[in-house]
């Protein structure tokens, strides 16, 4: 078994489109679990593989971030398919379509490939979010969608972000800049904490809301409702069967969402799976998180954060960032050194410094 199997769903794995600032025609498709760090690498601010982008086309800007991949493999496959639309099975040429010539693609072509990829059967059911950090790119995307006529699958959402004007929908999902994209499991910490406490019932009175059978959190996959105040728990298969029954497509094996049997709120399946995998597969991280949550809660006498982790990010985030510092240091050891030590100096200088540091 590969490592991926025992790992929880990554808090973030994203594919992104880079665009050169001095040469807007130069584009680059990549994938990363940490867009901000990766962007720094591409721009030479941080050390790390960025061969193709280490040239006069720097600096790069991340104009599109496709996030929400449920596994690293999935993200890598998506990246590959996006990079090689002509070779990928997911974007295999449609019946009447004439194969285009290979070579450098324009932004429009890349957007078209992205659109096709998002509509493909392989990724059409993935809970992806597409963030646009450049206004013109988003406009091109909107134009493409309007021209193609096929809307994204319902569980996907295109988020105008960064310099894009605020959509009529409001600030929904906006993070402002690439650096602000949450790359860790902080958004579900509260959810995780709640689930942990909810399932921490040594007396064994837990009951599956669907089959009404006894639940054994240690041996079974138990899903907890992400709604803060809901105490609904159920077996993985029970809940999925319930959700799948509600979906029109009988052949589906994975639901996208469903109504919680306890609170009847519509809950996201991927979110629950994130929490479930994190809780069941990374005990150490869970313990860490729980400890920090405890500190926080103790600091905040009347903390609402425990019950409102996902829904109100603003109060919860700043405190969450502090506990996350550990993870960040692990992931961003180089970045933090360079970025903190030498904030905005010319890229070459920073590179040299980095080399010295090691």
């Amino acid at each position: 078994m590969t490592n991926d199997h025992d790992k929880p769903i990554p808090p973030l794995y994203a594919c992104y489109l880079l665009r050169s600032v001095p040469k807007p025609a130069a584009l680059y498709i990549g994938s990363t679990p940490h867009p901000a760090r990766r962007l720094a690498q591409h721009n030479g601010v941080a050390k790390g593989g960025a061969k193709k982008t280490a040239n006069e086309k720097r600096p790069w800007e991340m104009v599109i971030v496709v996030e929400g991949f449920m596994s690293r493999v999935s993200a890598l496959q998506f990246e590959w398919a996006w990079q090689h639309p002509l070779d990928s099975r997911h974007t295999a040429t449609e019946p009447g379509q004439i194969t285009k010539r290979r070579g450098r693609r324009s932004l429009t072509a890349i957007l078209g490939d992205l659109h096709r990829l998002l509509l493909s059967t392989g990724f059409g059911s993935a809970p992806l979010a597409i963030r646009f950090f450049a206004d013109d790119v988003y406009r091109a995307w909107a134009m493409w969608i309007g021209r193609d006529g096929r809307a994204l699958p319902p569980q996907m959402k295109a988020i105008p972000d960064g310099t894009c004007p605020v959509a009529p929908g409001g600030q929904d999902g906006r993070v402002g800049c690439v650096d602000a994209i949450p790359v860790d499991s902080s958004p579900i910490h509260g959810y995780l904490e709640k689930a942990h406490f909810l399932l921490d019932d040594p007396e064994g009175h837990l009951q599956c809301r669907v089959c009404l059978g006894v639940v054994d959190p240690a041996e079974e996959r138990i899903v907890v409702c992400p709604q803060p105040h809901c105490h609904g728990i159920s077996h993985l298969l029970c809940l999925s069967a319930k959700f799948l029954q509600a979906t029109p497509d009988r052949d589906r094996l994975v639901p996208t969402e469903g109504a919680c049997p306890a609170c009847h709120e519509t809950v996201s399946w991927p979110l629950m799976m994130k929490e479930l995998t994190l809780r069941t597969r990374d005990a150490q991280a869970v313990q860490k998180i729980l400890r920090k949550r405890k500190k926080q809660s103790s600091r905040q006498a009347n903390s609402q954060a425990t019950s409102m982790p996902v829904e109100d990010p603003h109060p919860a985030h700043p405190p969450d960032d502090v506990p996350l510092a550990d993870d960040w240091t692990e992931q961003l050891a180089v970045d933090s050194d360079s970025s903190i030590g030498f904030p905005p100096p010319p890229s070459q200088r920073t590179e040299i410094v980095i080399s010295d540091s090691e």
């Binding site: 999935s74 890598l76 099975r89 004439i98 059967t121 094996l253 994975v254």
Partner: protein
């Protein structure tokens, strides 16, 4: 002012000046100034800009500038004396001399402005003093130039002005070069200048040859002539100087203006001569061309006359014009006139011995060149008669055949056949009262005429109730036709066509079919048995197939002209075929044509069944890798035929009507016009058809038609192969690429796609947690938790346990499992990451 004067000056100045490079500069400035003093001064100012001109100009002009600049700046007095002397020595200068002196001063002043020239000029003075022998002017120029050239060749270039006078000066510096080698670079010229100047001074300057030579170098002829005219007077005066050897050398070397013209004229004369020969050659060449041995005539020509080559070209052109008629006639004439040639030609025509004939030709040419020349014109004269004769003979042999064929018009025959068939159909329909209505016919007519494509689309889209009946007929054709042959009233018509088709095509097609069947069987042997059963039927059916194919091919003829459609219509059409509209109009047209062809080739199947089943068959077969395209085709046909048979049995319609319909379908599309004429009178068409049968006996008509049909058949089949791949995509999960690893498995799976995929799904759902191993995730749990599935493990589980849970005995391959996963949006990969990355 400047232009005219300059031109004259140029001619004059170069005459002597170029030879005496050193002297020339001195003269030039004088002359120039004399002719156009003020102009000269002004150009000097402009000179710096001109410095950068190309070498040709720069050489001539630059020298002048140098000379001008250097001389006036450094030695005004010496110049004056030099000019005076020059004027005395050279008659021409006498004219311009005095003016030049006065003007020089004027011109010099502005020239002085150039610093560079000043500097070189000083050393030049000293040199000039030393060197002055023949003429002060020469010395002065020499001094100045060498100085300028040595130190400032480049600078001299910079000072170059566009004036003619400068050209003379240029000649002065580089004339030595020019005498030796006109295009030598300047640096070499510098060195030579020193030597050359001495020689010049000693031997005297021969300006006349230099002028001529220079003129030669000047590209334009007109200018040379003018220059010559103008110069003549001056030359006369200077002839005395020409006595020196160097001058002779120059003279010999130099002017070929006359020679050039002479060259041209002799060429023309030669051309005229060769033309005659060419005529002979032309005849030969014609024969040669026929015999495909052009070399021999060319060789003979080369031997005979070198100049003939250009002549050949010219002559060949007119010959080409006459060739079509003339060649044929010429052959006959030659045969009459020259037995040898005719024999050679005949041999050539036969192609028995090309070499021998070539030799014969050459000999004949050599011996009879003189005689041939007069004879050839005779050929031409005779040609009309010979042409008439030849025409009579040629009718059998040559191009008339094509004309005859066209005039005889296979089209008419086709039309006749089509009309007959139409009439018969109408007759047959007559039995069924509905269709006999003239209005109905007209409707059909219009339908097919105007909107063929729409009809086809309608057939497809309407879910085929109408089409089905016809389709059934089509399939039944062979059997019915056989039966009809034996005992049917309508059978005569069908007989004729079908028999022909069968006779001509059935053999070939049968062979093809058998081959395909064999291949298919071979391929199938490895794969599932389900197909093999169907395939086994093929050889039996193969005999019948040719009929189908033949008739099918005919309807394909009237492909709607998609190119004439508007974009909107095209897009509609494409969408009607289930494709996404394309941007490119051209591509849309191509796609539509393909679709149309495929549809009509598959017409029986499509018509037989409403669209969904057809699509199913296609889709199921589509997924097969390209290797097996052929198999798929055959299988399709078999399936269609078998279905057709089954339906036929079920169908209650009489065989006769079926046969009529069957025949009528293709004919309808073919030629409605004939139908109109024939339809009103059903009976006569039969007769006419009988007549047509007679025509069939005529080989001209019968033979071509089967070929056409065959060609169409082959082409259509090929297209079918390509086209069948198109609908494949309708199945979303079908892998675009043929996966070598799992191609076989894919085939298996694809042969029975719905069941296996659904079986996998069922197996995944059916898996229950083993009580003892609660820790172990079921596959559905993994899927629910977005775990990437390891294809090897998952496939192994399916084959060992999973499919057994749903009582599925078949096994699945990793490739098929992957397609299944992707169709479900499940992330999967091979254990070795990277191979399954796509």
């Amino acid at each position: 002012m400047s232009a005219t004067t300059d031109v004259i000056v140029l001619s004059s100045s170069p005459e002597r000046m170029p030879c005496r490079t050193p002297t020339a500069p001195a003269y030039d400035p004088e002359r120039l100034f004399g002719l156009s003093p003020r102009d000269y001064s002004s150009p000097d100012v402009t000179s710096p800009s001109e410095l950068f001109r190309p070498e040709s100009q720069s050489r001539f002009f630059s020298t002048k500038d140098q000379a001008d600049g250097a001389q006036p700046d450094t030695h005004e007095a010496s110049r004056e004396t030099a000019t005076a002397e020059e004027a005395n020595k050279f008659g021409r200068k006498t004219n311009s001399g005095p003016q030049g002196v006065g003007e020089k001063r004027r011109g010099r002043k502005p020239k002085v402005t150039s610093d560079k020239q000043d500097a070189p000029a000083e050393p030049g003075l000293s040199i000039g003093e030393d060197n002055v022998n023949t003429s002060e002017v020469n010395t002065g120029t020499k001094k100045k130039r060498p100085v300028g050239s040595k130190k400032q060749n480049k600078s001299a270039n910079k000072t170059l002005t566009g004036r003619v006078a400068k050209s003379g000066t240029v000649a002065t510096i580089e004339p030595s070069k020019a005498s030796c080698c006109p295009s030598t670079p300047k640096p070499s010229s510098e060195q030579r200048d020193g030597q050359g100047t001495d020689d010049w001074q000693n031997e005297g300057l021969e300006l006349d040859p230099a002028m001529k030579r220079r003129l030669d170098w000047t590209p334009v002829k007109d200018t040379t002539k003018r220059a010559c005219e103008t110069v003549v007077e001056l030359e006369e005066a200077s002839h005395s100087v020409n006595g020196s050897r160097f001058g002779n050398l120059l003279f010999d070397y130099g002017f070929n203006g006359n020679s050039d013209t002479s060259r041209d004229t002799p060429n023309v004369a030669e051309e005229a001569g060769p033309t005659k020969r060419r005529r002979i050659e032309l005849v030969d060449s014609l024969h040669a061309s026929k015999t495909a041995s052009d070399n021999t005539p060319t060789d003979s020509e080369t031997q005979s006359s070198k100049t003939q080559k250009p002549e050949r070209k010219r002559k060949t052109k007119p010959k080409k014009i006459t060739t079509l008629t003339g060649r044929v006639t010429a052959l006959y004439k030659e045969s009459v006139a020259e037995s040898t040639d005719s024999a050679s030609q005949a041999t050539l025509d036969s192609g028995e011995s090309a070499v021998a004939t070539n030799q014969n030709r050459a000999k004949s040419k050599r011996t009879g060149k003189a005689t041939l020349q007069p004879q050839e014109p005779q050929y031409i004269v005779l040609s009309p008669e010979a042409a008439a004769k030849s025409i009579e003979d040629q009718d059998l042999v040559f191009g008339t055949c094509s004309q005859l064929e066209r005039e005889e018009s296979p089209q008419t025959l086709r039309e006749m056949q089509a009309a007959i068939q139409e009439s018969e159909r109408s007759m047959a329909t007559g039995s069924s009262p509905q269709e006999l209505r003239p209005g109905w016919l007209s409707n059909r007519m219009t339908r097919f005429n105007n909107t063929k494509s729409l009809w086809s689309i309608a057939a497809r889209d309407s879910e085929g109730s109408l089409v089905q009946a016809e389709v059934l007929d089509m399939v039944d054709m062979p059997v019915l036709s056989k039966s009809s042959k034996e005992s049917n009233k309508d059978g005569f018509h069908e007989k004729s066509i079908s028999d022909e088709l069968t006779n001509d095509n059935s053999k070939k097609h049968a062979v093809i079919e058998l081959e395909t069947a064999r291949q298919v069987q071979a391929a199938e042997a490895a794969s599932s048995t389900a197909l093999t059963t169907t395939l086994l039927q093929e050889p039996q059916i193969s005999q019948d197939k040719p009929l189908q194919t033949c008739q099918l091919t005919e309807p394909s003829r009237p492909i709607p002209q998609f190119s004439a459609f508007t974009d909107a219509e095209l897009s509609k059409q494409i969408t009607s075929y289930g494709f996404k509209p394309l941007k490119s109009r051209k591509k849309m047209v191509e796609l539509l044509q393909k679709c149309w062809e495929s549809k009509h080739d598959l017409k029986p199947s499509d018509d037989q069944q409403p669209n969904p089943p057809a699509s199913q068959t296609s889709s199921s077969q589509q997924q097969a890798p390209e290797k097996r395209q052929r198999k798929t085709n055959t299988t399709k046909k078999t399936s269609t035929t078998s279905k057709a048979k089954s339906q036929q049995r079920t169908s209650a319609k009489p065989a006769a009507t079926n046969s009529h319909l069957r025949v009528s379908n293709p004919k309808d599309n073919n030629q409605p016009l004939n139908m109109r004429a024939t339809t009103p009178e059903p009976v006569p068409p039969r007769r006419s058809f009988i007549d047509v049968e007679e025509i069939e006996d005529s080989e001209d008509e019968v033979i071509p038609s089967p070929h056409r049909l065959q060609s169409r058949y082959t082409t259509t089949t090929i297209e079918n192969k390509q086209q069948k791949s198109l609908p494949i995509s309708s199945v979303p999960t079908s892998p675009s690429k043929a996966h070598t690893v799992s191609s076989i498995q894919n085939n298996k799976a694809e042969t029975t796609p719905p069941e296996l995929s659904t079986q996998i799904t069922a197996a995944v759902r059916a898996q229950t947690r083993t009580p003892g191993h609660n820790r172990r995730l079921t596959w559905h749990e993994k899927i629910l938790m977005y775990d990437p599935l390891i294809l090897e493990d998952f496939t192994a589980w399916l084959n060992t346990e999973g499919l057994g849970l749903v009582r599925e005995d078949r096994e699945v391959g990793a490739g098929f499992v992957r397609t299944w996963c992707e169709s479900k949006g499940i992330c999967c990969c091979y254990r070795r990451i990277g191979s399954g990355g796509r």
